[in-house]
Amino acid sequence: MKLAYYPGCVSKSTGKEMDASTRAVCAALEIELQELDDWNCCGATHVSNELVATGLAARNMAQTDLPIMTACSICYSNLRAAAMRLEEPKILKRVNAVLDKKYSGSIVRHALDVILETLVEDDERMVVPLKELKVAPYYGCLLTRPTGIYSPEFPTILEELIKRLQAEPVDFRLKTFCCGGPIFMPQEKAADDIAFRILSDAKNAGAEVIVTVCPLCHLMLDAKQKTLEQKMGEKIGIPVLYVTQLVGIALGLGPDELGLEMNSVSPMAMMEKVYERMAEGA
């Protein structure tokens, strides 16, 4: 399978391990990625004019004829929302009038869905079974919204993938609750409060690890976890992995390839447990 790859701005900074693990897992699964030519920012959640947001997404989508894959839920949501708006002929005409390469339709996919399609049940490439590993499937908001692909209230695709890796999804009430990320800079208190609720809920659900599909969710739950623990006076201590990192572990890829050293809460103790259980099972 060959896809165009849209890394998104965070791939160069706070989401480096998202980018590294996405490339490594796709290589291992023989998914050929061709980085989108001269891609631009999707506008994230900060472009309030919808037509401008649509134009920014359309410029990216017009760079290729291949289906486009991204591992960032914000980019994913923005490209999908734009593709829906561009079905309206008036909007298409208006947007194409300012584009160099014209937009004429595009298929947008999230890495999660591409991986799930590629990885078959009992896939022999999964050399490290994640047996008994309790995983909190954290969807956040934008993988499922706008609607059209997954249920925005109770999606189950992450649980499906977790089970395919032979791990156990935990019952996690706040799995589609917002992490507060988009407003964490100017509205720190509001964002901290809701991010901590999610961490607390994952802990109460007995999670050994949380998986995310969005770099902003990851930043809030991983990079901010220590600060939030201090602020709220409660220990969490749960590693937060990108879904591509978790898949990479199951595929036997190394910590370097998956950028595991870049996670704030170290997943090494969790990894040891995985290997212990594997040795017991063998």
């Binding site: 920012c41 401008v52 160099d100 919204r145 988009p182 407003i183 100017p186 509205q187 220590k226 704030s264």
Partner: protein, 175 residues
């Protein structure tokens, strides 16, 4: 058309005429992750728009507490997109030059897109702290966490198609 009516029509143009069908049920407010901090609530904000109360609709924290999670939008029984109403109000506020730390943050973000085509997080944070020094403690903590992990990039990447991106931002914004 009175100023009030003009404002209402502008919100409807940007967020969709279906906003007129709001029944004030409050599903949007009940779904909002930051509702406890909002005054007016998102339900009330929509009412203010429909009543043409421009000043009250534009000058509040509600606009800036929206996380863009879209839960209001997927749940509205009338098919209204309350988040799009918030975006419309931010767009109007930007055009009218309304200043606040939150409005400035969005402006810095958009300016980076216009100038570079991509976001350089470090430069964005630096620029924001100049107008909001109170954010320095949080940013410092975040920096100390991310720097040793190699996740802070000092580079500003500029794309080749900057002129095109600038055109998208400037021309599509015009009515």
């Amino acid at each position: 058309m009175t100023g009030d009516e003009q404002f209402k029509q502008e919100v409807l143009r940007l967020a969709g005429a279906e906003v007129l069908t709001c029944i004030q049920c409050g599903t949007c407010s009940a779904s909002c992750p930051t509702a406890n901090l909002m005054d007016p609530s998102i339900r009330k904000l929509i009412k203010l728009c429909l009543e043409g109360k421009k000043e009250e609709a534009l000058h509040n924290e509600t606009l800036w507490l929206c996380t863009s999670c879209l839960l209001c939008t997927v749940r509205c029984p009338r098919g209204i997109r309350p988040k799009a109403v918030v975006s419309a109000l931010k767009d109007i506020a930007e055009r009218e030059g309304l200043r606040s730390k939150d409005a400035d943050y969005e402006q810095f973000f958009l300016k980076q897109i216009k100038d570079y085509g991509r976001i350089a997080e470090l430069a964005l944070t630096g620029e924001f702290l100049l107008v909001f020094p109170q954010g320095a403690v949080q940013s410092m903590k975040m920096g100390l966490e991310l720097l040793p992990k190699g996740k802070i990039s000092m580079e500003i990447e500029k794309i080749k198609g900057r002129d095109e991106v600038k055109r998208i931002v400037e021309e599509l914004r015009r009515e």
